[in-house]
Point group: C2
Chain length 224, copies 2
């Protein structure tokens, strides 16, 4: 009996592939994950072979299946891991003190910093982000992971907008929730589009455009 025909819904999966209990096992899993990232970035999701991954990790083909049930499974693990890293690195960080200026200018400056960080991150992980986009289109689980990440992001932005409203810098009647959604969608969409279609945008100019759009949308003064 080759693959036990148990009705598990996993599209290409096999055994559950439990997490390792040993130190050695954990190292092995990590190596496989790193190798998977490498192979995926080089070959894309479709072209990547499980064989290539185990080969890149320098281990036997079979070992792969000790830790991951299928190619899709490693990919999901990779997405989860990367998303965590990503948000850790994007969390509130103490930037070199904001420039002197009116509260509005400081706010715009902060927005600019955030956009710059986002674009830079996207650029550094272009291959992987493109892969995420790709797999999102056909794997519901990956889509869910990204959706969750996006929700967290929207929440943070909404929070910032509400803060600005409390400070009297943004009109109180602005729908913070909806605006946050729109702004996040805009940034993600723009950067994704730029990325996938190899647009002509130069990084600095893209950041400037984003910041301007945000400022305009929120009614903050734009520095020309």
């Amino acid at each position: 009996m080759p693959p036990p025909p148990e009705a598990v819904s996993g599209p290409a999966g096999t055994a559950p592939a439990a997490l390792p209990t040993t130190e050695r096992g954990r190292r092995m899993r990590a190596r496989l994950l790193a190798a998977a990232r490498e192979v995926f970035e080089r070959d894309g999701f479709l072209e990547a072979r499980v064989t290539d991954i185990s080969a890149a990790a320098g281990v036997a083909h079979g070992s792969f299946y000790t830790y991951f049930g299928s190619k899709t499974a490693v990919f999901r693990a990779l997405v989860a891991e990367t998303m965590d890293d990503l948000y850790a690195s994007m969390g509130t960080r103490h930037e070199p003190g904001p420039p002197d200026g009116s509260p509005e200018e400081v706010a715009v400056h902060r927005i600019d910093r955030a956009n710059r960080r986002f674009v830079a991150m996207y650029r550094q992980n272009t291959a992987l982000m493109a892969l995420f986009e790709q797999v999102t289109t056909f794997d519901p689980e990956v889509r869910a992971l990204r959706q969750a990440a996006r929700e967290r992001n929207v929440g943070r932005v909404r929070h910032s907008i509400e803060q600005l409203q409390r400070d009297g810098l943004v009109a109180a009647d602005l729908d913070a929730e909806y605006s946050a959604h729109a702004l996040v969608a805009m940034v993600n969409g723009l950067v994704h589009y730029w990325l996938v279609l190899d647009g002509e945008f130069e990084q600095e100019r893209l950041v400037a455009a984003l910041t301007r759009l945000w400022a305009q949308a929120l009614g903050l003064p734009v520095r020309t």
Copy 2:
């Protein structure tokens, strides 16, 4: 010799698959193309099988290969065909006369119409557009097709902006070329993001947001 190892770069291609010369042949090709669209929309690119396509068209498996060299080949044909249809339908069309109002208001109204048409079209072909996005990420030829389509689009927008500048409605020192790129990227990106991530945007609201962003970017008065 199974697949003749000729060094044609086609990733999964076979014979050239010439165009039909007979009326019958043309009908057959059209049927296959329609069936392909159907199957792709239902199953996605990866899950779609050449067998399913020929079955859906009600013809023998072998007939498929008379007209298309591979799954990728039909898909490309489908993209080309759809893009043509799409631009034909988006071309300048005589809308019900614009509302009375200042020239600025008329301009904004026209922008709103264009955005509305674009969103509606996207919505009607959601499945197919998502597929285009997906395949774009790994098929250079499809990417090229879309890039060309995007260039045409940017050209049209740039033309409109320049017209507005000539009419004195938009600042003359605005970089029309760059703005056109940015605006097109914004619309495509936003709509794509909304589509793929199943955002909460309601169609009317999305159109309104897009129009507002355009107007703000161009310095036109926004109707609140």
